[in-house]
């Protein structure tokens, strides 16, 4: 179908555009920017006056809860939430039930996602069988089935020999390994940052050292093996410094943070608010400032939603007993915009952190609107405020620490390969 | 209205109490006005009378409505209440509810042989079948009027009348 998006402010960081430009789409691909192609008769004209038109967002981590946790959320409900958040490509971690360690499961997931035709879904395969940190998975088979990388989700490998071998094996084939840096024993039993707030509230702490020690181990091993490593969900200032140094030394390292950690600290736990029970934990003001600066200077490549829908019952418990995680697909864009506005980061850079940068990490041709690319488009109103509440969230997970807050940035229209997959009511 | 001289009334009260004293009498003053009065009466009554103070906060009938008083003081009854002739001393007698509470509290200490109520002023307006046997003065006040016993800087008693708004 021929589509003409007119009057919008086109921001595409990869091709370097931030200007009033019309966009022309045909047969699901971008065919022209700015100039009307000869003989173009649009079947659908979208008036994007007052809106920003950018590549569909790329989210590096969204738990879709299928297979296995359908009581928390389903593929359909979560992908609908994704497109309502302007997200057109997302990666999901392998901690489903059963774990994504078999090619058949990966194929089924990809098939289900294709049928729904809402966003592109890029599964991360399990690095070890059942995520147990002992035996390698068939990475080649899984890659063929569609895995774009391999991860341990929230279960770090304690046995450094296994980790080393897994990295070596991955390096053989050029696979990217996604690891959330956490030293198993130092983090054991902890539910909050090991600092002032946990001390007052009597909560078991996870020291910053749990993250920095793990980063040191992973960087060292990655250097030895030459593996491409992506560090997931940094939370410490020292961690950002370590990555900065490693990048300077030329290591093939990338990293991301969760949007929640751009805006919240340990103090937001308040009177034991289980919505602030997250992995990694919310840390200090100083850590948050370093994460915000790190995302700004590019040390942190991308920000993701780390979408983790949790059923109400699992949050309606005392803090330590509640399930960790926050829902976030619909909040990735407004939280990124909020950070950009507060830290005085230009919009193009901010959008890069949720489009072309994560696309590069995933190794996919997405997150940009160069002529010939898939017309995965997000159109949003940067000045429109909306209330974050259970009834305005499409995801089945209503568990977010931002409940009750007003955020700016409302997606009006999302296209996947030229098809409208979301239109704001 | 002209209020009577509280110091004069105190002397009248002592005169009326004196004939009632027996070897088994004990005085109990109710916080805080009754307790003040009792402190002054003891030397005037001339004997080593057993005495104590009661704070009725835990026995009031309006607890559900107004909650616990922010300043409760401990009750102190060091003597054995059993078989005693108790004289309760209070400053102003009004509805009778304070005395109802005081009697309930006293009975939790033991079974007295008798209870006599002696007050400085009976201002009328009782809501229960309770009446002081001894009063140094009678005043007829309207419901919106609030009579209080106070002490000045030298410790001398005086009465004060407020109109509720």
């Amino acid at each position: 179908m021929k589509i003409h998006i007119k009057n919008g402010r086109l921001i595409d960081p990869q091709i370097g555009i931030d200007a009033k430009r019309d966009l022309f789409i045909a047969a699901g691909k971008v065919i022209s920017i700015g100039n009307t192609p000869d003989g173009f008769a649009a079947k659908q004209v979208i008036d994007a006056t007052g809106l920003i038109v950018c590549p569909g967002l790329v989210d590096l981590s969204a738990r879709l809860r299928e297979p296995g946790f359908e009581y928390k959320a389903t593929l359909e409900s979560e992908l609908k939430a994704a497109v309502a958040g302007g997200i057109t490509s997302l990666a999901c971690p392998p901690d489903t039930e059963p774990v994504l360690d078999e090619p058949g499961l990966v194929e089924m997931l990809k098939h289900r996602a294709r049928q729904l035709n809402l966003t592109h879904v890029y599964p991360l395969g399990a690095l070890t069988r059942q995520l147990q940190g002992k035996h390698l998975t068939e990475m080649c088979e899984l890659s063929e089935a569609g895995c774009v990388g391999f991860s341990q989700a929230d279960i770090p490998i304690a046995d450094t020999q296994v980790l080393w071998r897994a990295l070596q094996y991955a390096a053989t084939f050029g696979f990217t390994i996604w690891l959330r840096p956490e030293e198993v024993y130092l983090a054991r039993g902890g539910v909050a940052h090991d600092g002032e707030v946990a001390a007052r509230l009597g909560l078991n702490g996870i020291p910053s050292t749990a993250e920095t020690l793990a980063i040191a181990t992973i960087l060292r091993l990655a250097k030895e093996t030459g593996t491409k490593v992506h560090l997931c969900r940094l939370s410490t200032a020292e961690g950002v410094d370590m990555v900065r140094l490693a990048k300077k030394q030329g290591l093939a390292i990338s990293c991301d943070i969760a949007a929640t950690h751009l805006h919240l600290t340990e103090h937001d736990i308040g009177f034991f608010d289980a919505h602030c029970h997250l992995k990694p934990p919310l840390r200090t003001q100083r850590d948050m400032a370093a994460l915000r600066a790190g995302l700004q200077d590019g040390t942190i490549n991308a920000v993701c939603s780390d979408h983790t829908p949790v059923d109400d019952d699992s949050k309606l418990l005392p803090f330590a007993e509640s399930e960790a995680g926050a829902t976030g697909l619909e909040l990735l864009l407004p939280l990124t915009l909020k950070w950009a506005q507060e830290n005085k980061v230009d919009l193009s850079t901010a959008i890069e952190r949720v489009t072309s940068a994560p696309a590069k990490i995933l190794g996919i041709d997405a997150g940009h609107l160069a002529v010939g690319s898939d017309a995965d488009v997000c159109m949003f109103d940067p000045d429109r405020y909306w209330q974050v509440e259970a009834k305005s969230l499409i995801s089945q997970g209503k568990n977010t620490p931002f409940l009750g807050l007003e955020l700016a940035g409302k997606v009006r229209h999302t296209l996947l390969q030229g098809h409208t997959v979301y239109l704001a009511p | 209205m002209i209020l009577p001289d509280a110091e004069q009334l105190l002397i009248t009260l002592a005169d009326k109490i004196r004939p009632l004293l027996t070897p088994d009498t004990a005085l109990v003053g109710l916080h805080s006005g009754g307790a003040w009065l009792m402190q002054r009466l003891l030397p005037m009554l001339g004997k080593n009378l057993p005495n104590g103070v009661l704070d009725i906060s835990f026995y009031r009938d309006d607890f559900s409505r107004i909650g616990l008083h922010p300043q409760t003081k401990p009750s102190q009854i060091a003597f054995d209440v059993q078989d005693r002739h108790i004289i309760i001393i209070d400053d102003v007698f009004y509805t009778g509810r304070t005395i109802r509470a005081a009697m309930n509290e006293l009975f939790d200490y033991g079974r007295p042989a008798s209870i006599t109520l002696a007050v400085l002023v009976n201002r009328g307006g009782r809501e229960l079948p309770i009446e002081p046997q001894i009063a140094a003065a009678h005043l007829d006040l309207a419901p919106g009027q609030n009579l209080q016993l106070l002490r000045d800087a030298d410790g001398r008693f005086y009465l004060q009348l407020h109109e509720d708004a």
Binding site: A199, L203, L316, L317 | S64, L68, P70, S75
Partner: protein, 316 residues
């Protein structure tokens, strides 16, 4: 942040933690408790304040001692008492905390006394209980044990009324102790100028100084010229988790003996929340000695709990 313990007009609705309690309310609880001490010395130890009210002891974590003192306190206020020991009942069958709470509300409970092994459990229950219910925290995980903190400072105030001049030392496992946290908050709110914690590094929380205490690892230095020594109980499990090598070494370095007690002021008092591990944190001769106020602490515990319940019940 709105204080969940107070009503809109600043009155006490729940007692969840001493942290965040206005000084005036703390004073009111202690002053009211003075009156209840007298009641305990009477023939009839009851007052009618909570007649017709039902107090429910919901103990998700077992404790006969604490539960019994709450029960005595409630009965002395003429309340009806329900005891729910959750370990043996519906919770074990998988009933959620909230279901248990809702069922008890339906049975016309007015006040919940809650003990749970998870920090924040009392706040959680208070947040979700029906609006007319008052919640008293009888101990939640490592977070708080406010009535214990209150009875401890009540005891200190009784023996050492000049609180603005005191040096108080807490000795032992502060890291795992809800009693220690509550004691520290109560002492600082009441204006005690010097509060010390004496413990090995493994038994102190990160950033403990931010609670307003001075840290000592050397017990002899820490006890010097102290007016009040508050001992903390050492759980057996601490020897398991690589926090301490043995009870013997602990007693040698952090146990309170006559010899170490002599370093404090000659009229210093010794306290312990109980139950004591004799020969581990405290020597028997000290526990039974004339500077020990450990037995009076127990009596005051009932009076303080009566005061808390009476004040809460009146704030409806």
């Amino acid at each position: 942040m709105v204080n969940p313990q107070l009503t809109k007009d600043g009155k006490l609705k729940h007692l969840l933690s001493i942290e965040g309690l206005p000084r005036a309310i703390l004073d009111q609880i202690l002053d009211t408790a003075e009156s209840f001490v007298g009641v305990a010395e009477r023939e009839v130890k009851k007052v009618p304040l909570l007649r017709g009210k039902t107090v429910c002891n919901i103990f998700f974590e077992n404790s006969t001692r604490t539960r019994t003192t709450f029960e005595i306190a409630a009965k002395r206020l003429s309340a009806d008492v329900l005891n729910l020991n959750v370990g043996t009942s519906s919770q074990a069958k998988g009933e959620t905390i909230l279901d248990t709470v809702n069922n008890l509300t339906a049975m016309h409970a007015d006040m919940f006394v809650v003990r749970h092994s998870a920090s924040g459990a009392a706040h959680f229950i208070a947040r979700h209980a029906a609006p007319h219910i008052h919640v008293i925290n009888a101990g939640d995980g490592r977070h708080a044990h406010p009535t214990q903190g209150l009875l401890d400072v009540f005891t200190v105030r009784r023996y050492k009324p000049q609180m603005h001049n005191l040096r108080v030392a807490l000795v032992g496992d502060v890291l795992h102790s809800r009693v220690a946290r509550s004691e520290i908050h109560a002492l600082t709110i009441l204006g005690v100028p010097e509060v010390r914690v004496i413990a090995p590094k493994t038994l102190l929380p990160e950033h403990v100084e931010k609670l307003g205490v001075q840290v000592y690892h050397d017990m002899r230095a820490g006890l010097k010229d102290v007016d009040v020594i508050m001992m903390l109980r050492l759980q057996n499990e601490r020897m398991q988790g690589a926090l301490l090598p043995s009870a013997q070494e602990y007693f040698k370095t952090y146990g309170l003996t006559q010899e170490k007690l002599a370093l404090a002021k000659p009229d210093a008092i010794v306290m312990h929340p109980g139950p004591m591990n004799r020969g581990v944190e405290i020597d028997s001769s000290v526990a039974d000695g004339n500077q020990s106020v450990i037995l009076p602490q127990v009596t005051y515990g009932i009076a303080v709990r009566m005061a808390v319940m009476a004040i809460l019940a009146g704030n409806s």
